[in-house]
């Protein structure tokens, strides 16, 4: 009865994931191709101050006469690249340490857990803020390091808890009695159980990273003009929201589309 009713539901959610996936692919394409197609994001032309959208300039020009669509493409690329890099780093670090802590236990587990207990109480934004603010103006390395450092602990905690549960389960005990070896435990037990979890965490982590970056841009810490960044673009456009609403609307829509599509990619049952 229960297994029967599950089947149509699964296909339904799978179909629904096409929409966010398509939006995300379009955004990635825009970020990858845009910077090559459109004019420089920094080229100013004060004579075209707040020029409204037209066929040649689909999103118009900003207060310095810079091409908004070009700036948007660069900003999207920056968001996606930095978020993916920092999430990948955090995921790799957290997963490796988490699995090691769960598998080896003992002092290694105690030390790593002690460190993670301290990190878990530190707001990610605080860490990113410190890194971004105190590094060389406009250096993206600090931002990347801050984002990765702020996020690894989440992967560590989740992976450690889940891996400890899996490694202590009857299934792994049975595998040991069957003398199946470590590779079997990793391939058949750990990876299949962790994969969906990590995918969910990674898509959430991307959202967190993108939002954190735009927030920093908005409060003008770490990311400074004239860099094209979504949060910065929103701050810069805000004073002109009456005269040129498209100026603020464009980065807001891209930001929202990015986060919504990333959130929509998660599986329904994994929603957090």
């Amino acid at each position: 009865m229960s297994t029967l009713s599950l089947l149509p539901l699964e296909s339904r959610t799978r179909r629904r994931r096409w929409v966010p996936a398509t939006i995300l692919i379009l955004l990635v394409a825009f970020a990858l191709i845009g910077p090559w197609v459109f004019a420089s994001p920094f080229a100013q032309d004060l004579s075209r101050y707040l020029e409204p959208p037209s066929l040649t300039e689909p999103l118009g020009r900003d207060e310095y006469g810079r091409s908004v669509v070009s700036r948007l493409a660069h900003a999207t690329r920056l968001s996606l690249v930095l978020a993916s890099l920092s999430v990948a780093t955090a995921l790799l670090l957290g997963t490796t340490l988490g699995t090691m802590a769960a598998w080896r236990g003992g002092w290694l587990d105690s030390v790593l857990r002690g460190i993670s207990e301290s990190f878990v109480a530190m707001p990610a934004l605080l860490i990113v803020l410190l890194f971004a603010a105190l590094a060389a103006d406009g250096s993206l390395w600090a931002l990347y390091a801050g984002l990765a450092l702020a996020q690894w602990v989440e992967y560590f905690r989740v992976v450690r808890a889940r891996a400890a549960l899996i490694l202590g389960s009857p299934a792994v005990e049975a595998a040991e009695l069957l003398h199946l070896g470590r590779l079997h435990v990793v391939r058949r037990h750990l990876l299949p159980e962790l994969r969906p979890l990590l995918l969910t965490l990674a898509s959430l982590g991307m959202v967190t990273a993108i939002l954190a970056m735009s927030t920093l841009g908005f409060i003008k810490v770490g990311l400074q003009p004239p860099r094209a960044e979504l949060g910065l673009m929103i701050t810069e456009a805000f004073p002109h929201y009456d005269a040129a609403p498209w100026l603020a609307l464009a980065p807001v829509v891209v930001l929202f589309a990015l986060t919504v599509s990333l959130l929509g990619l998660r599986r329904k049952e994994d929603s957090r």
Binding site: G114, I115, E117, S118, F119, V120, A121, M122, P123, A124, L125, L126, I127, L129, L130, F131, A133, L134, A135, A136, D137, A161, V207, L211, S214, T215, F218, I219, V221, G231, I234, F238, Y241, V252, L255, F256, T259, V260, L263, S271
Partner: protein
Amino acid sequence: MTGIRRTGEVLLKRSGQALGVALAVSILCFVVVQRLPGDVSYRIAAGRYGYDLVDNAAAAAVAAELGLDRPAWQQFGSWLAALAQGDLGRSLVTSRPVGEELAFYLLGTLQLTGAALLVAILIGGSVGVLAARHPGSLVDHLATTWVASVRALPPFLLGLLLVLVFSVQLGWLPAVGHGNSTSLVLPAMTLGLGLSGLVARVTRETVINVWSSSYVQFAHTRGIRERLVLLRHVLRNSAVVLVPYLGAQAILLIEGVIVVESLFAWQGLGHALVHAVFWRDIPMLQATALALALLVVSLNTVVDLIVLRLDPRPRRAGALA
């Protein structure tokens, strides 16, 4: 007996965490400060005298005065030693004791977080319960949409939106400032609304789960009236799940505080932190970062103690967030 022992365990564990956090924040701040590119003393001197009046001599004087010319480990050691005695130093910008300023900003942050939590729990809780009692209804769908969009919006956008509507268009509320009661409304709404989506979703799921639990079903078949079942069994058991969840959101709350305070120029720790970052005011920076992190630990401690009172069962291992 066991109650006291369990309280002791919680306090011990959280104090350990607080110490670890203090150390981690201090180290982090110092590592970052050591890698500072621009001359710190120059920035500070500029902060004091203005960019037009500052020169290298003034900057060197500032550096010597503040001990910034000493080796890093000496600075770190003396800061830790002072911290252990409760001395947070003086602000490099205002020259006032950091402790005093911290107390002022802490009060502002506590006001804001308290009001925001109230908003989040009132709105999120009631929407969640409504959605749980009528799954699949219009309220339920609206709640789901609300949850998703709030998660996808950065808090500053929500804040801008509220400013546009209530301050600029309607002119009902002041956009920025600190002091009178109406200036609290917009920041608290921004922060509270941002959290309310999460609260609503978890409330909904918890109430649905508890309502379908064996003990609530059993209470029904014993003929106990629905409202009594809600009061005696559903509320408390839902709280057992919800309160720790709220505790786990303390981090989000504090992150929101940093943004919202900067956006609305609300005189709190987050605002002070961003200012300290901007002026390279290192003692102030360390102190505010430390205070924000410790605030997270304190909130979690309060949550732990409430859960101990609510739930007589022994804690499951690893449930401490």
